[in-house]
């Protein structure tokens, strides 16, 4: 690792990434599952891999954990290439989707497993197991078997079992899949707070965008074994780098048009700046659109559907060009929603919040 002279001025170490994945590829026969995959994760950061089923999220985790060997590329932890380090010597902890708790061992023995494999003295094992169980609020469950625990408790055992070995990097593959929707929401917040408190550098895998927005410091949106965009949840949502990312995260409206020199004209007559020329796709979120009376603007349509989603009301508007545009507005109790089949006009609230992509 590159280092400056020893002493307090040594800041290189704190800014260097804990985990560096460089140009990793993975093939199964002729199918390329990962291509030129590059990602750096900083100390204490939670990066989420988000993408549709089969895009290679699990494959990447398995390469980092060492269950599979990548076909080329480097995987570094604290500057050390670990591609040739065997699974059981990597400073990496994996929380499996199925939890993979040992059914024949009690909670305490599951959690102490890694320490026993390293032949730590009994007293130390007992003390560290107790302290980790306290961290995940499972004190008192030491002598239960995994089958005697609820799904949420099993998940916490799976996390405790990994925490006890103080890994440099934590890998979590869809750890909430086995939980019901309500518990999932609570566990997401709890797990994020725990990881942040312990300052663990983590890669978290999911194909649930809401989960990604909750859990992450940064989100890496994947498609077909490659990263489309890595950025903070806000930036991914507000400034998606590609049409694919915009489409994958949140609800998005697209329309195709021609760019003029330096700008694109929106259907309501406003303009958006762009460097692109020729055919382009313009995207905006439903909350950046507004409904008005039919005579208020040139962009007209008919409401085809509306529904109440808690604090918001969501409209589907069939525009005169045939596009179905989704619009959402804060719901006020005294307001009557615009009725289905009524004629309306559409307008963009803030043209600068629209994104323009090559067509």
């Amino acid at each position: 690792m590159m280092q400056g002279p020893a002493g307090p001025s040594n800041t290189v170490e704190t800014t260097a990434p804990v985990l560096g994945i460089g140009a990793v590829g993975k093939r199964f026969g002729a199918t390329r599952v990962l291509q030129n995959f590059t990602l750096e994760v900083a100390e204490g950061e939670i990066v989420t891999l988000l993408g549709p089923s089969g895009c290679g999220k699990t494959t990447l985790l398995r390469c980092v954990a060492g269950f599979w060997e990548p076909n080329g590329g480097t995987i570094e932890i604290d500057g050390q290439d670990i591609v040739d380090v065997p699974v059981n010597r990597r400073p990496v902890g994996v929380v499996f989707q199925s939890y993979a708790l040992f059914p024949h061992l009690t909670v305490a023995r599951n959690v102490g497993y890694a320490l026993r494999m390293r032949n730590r003295p009994r007293a130390e094992v007992a003390q560290r197991v107790a302290s980790v169980l306290e961290t995940v609020s499972l004190t008192g469950f030491e002598n239960r078997y995994p089958s005697q625990l609820s799904g949420g408790q099993q998940q916490r055992v799976a996390i405790a079992r990994v925490l006890v070995m103080e890994p440099r990097v934590l890998l979590l593959d869809e750890p909430f899949n086995a939980l019901d929707a309500k518990l999932r929401g609570a566990m997401q917040v709890e797990l994020r707070q725990l990881i942040k408190r312990l300052g663990l550098t983590s890669i978290f895998v999911t194909h649930d965008q809401e989960e990604a927005l909750t859990m992450s410091d940064r989100i890496a949106v994947m498609s077909g074994g490659k990263i489309e965009q890595v950025a903070s949840p806000d930036e991914i949502f507000d400034r998606p780098a590609t049409a694919y990312v915009a489409d994958f995260i949140g609800v998005s409206n697209f329309w195709e048009t021609q760019a003029e020199t330096g700008h694109v004209r929106l259907p309501d007559g406003q303009t958006v700046m762009t460097d692109l020329t020729g055919g382009v796709k313009v995207m905006t979120r439903p909350h950046n659109l507004r409904l008005g009376p039919p005579e208020a603007g040139p962009w007209k349509g008919t409401v085809s559907f509306h529904r109440n989603v808690g604090p918001l009301i969501e409209y589907h508007v069939e525009a005169s060009d045939g596009n179905v545009i989704r619009v959402s507005a804060m719901r006020q109790e005294r307001d009557r929603p615009v009725k289905d089949r009524s004629q309306v006009s559409l307008s963009v609230i803030d043209p600068a919040s629209c994104s323009v992509y090559p067509g």
Binding site: A65, N88, V94, H104, Y113, A114, M117, S147, V162
Partner: protein, 271 residues
Amino acid sequence: MKWFRGRSLVDVVGIGLVLAVAVFSLVLLVAPSIIVVVISFDTRAYVTFPPAGFTLRWYKAVFEHGELVEAMLNSLQVGLTVTVLCIVLGVPTALACVRGRFRGTTALSVFVLVPHMVPGIVLGVAVLFAGALVGVSPSIWLQSISITVFIVAVMVRTVQSRLMRLDPALEEAAANLRATPFQSLRTVTFPLLMPAILAGAVFTFVEGFDNLSVAIFTHGFRDRPLPVELLALVQYTSSPIVAAVSGVQIVLAIAALVVVSTSIGLDKVNE
């Protein structure tokens, strides 16, 4: 449609079939065993039914009958040898068939089955002739090895089916939690396979102890196993001593059943 006391036709036929099977097995299996046990306590010196009185004489006679005791010890030795060989050969074979990353795992698991498909007599004769060709004469070891070849498939299949139901992530988790491949086998794979190994061990022991078809051609001239000795005995005598030997075997069989059912029962407790 309700047909009989609120049950449908399918139910009635189903219950009838279950009863028929139960009666059938009772008549064919349990009844003869009971008769044999009853006869083994009979006071008269020839096999009749019903018995005339109660005595432990025949059991005493069994254990005073030098050749029978020796035959039992021989069979015990064969049973244990077969069990040990089946564990040593069968468990790694099952692991290789299920977890193996090499070509031919399917071929291997089919190949293991082949000797079990061949009738025991054919296998016994084949071993005898092949042995004669290469100068290996029948002995208690040849018998043990032949029965192992015949029965190892049972151990492989039992362990294999258990292994296929084990989540492969368990072994990956062990490796991730710092276990060496050997530690992972010792602390995760083997404990979880134990019920299957135990069940396989009981089956292979019983086969080693009890096998006649392979044993009759391969046993050592001076080391007669129990089934062969019994066959000789019933050819020349009809005393209840044979029934008493059967009584001993029935007790062994019940003990084996108890071991299997509790080991499978234990298996359920932890899952």
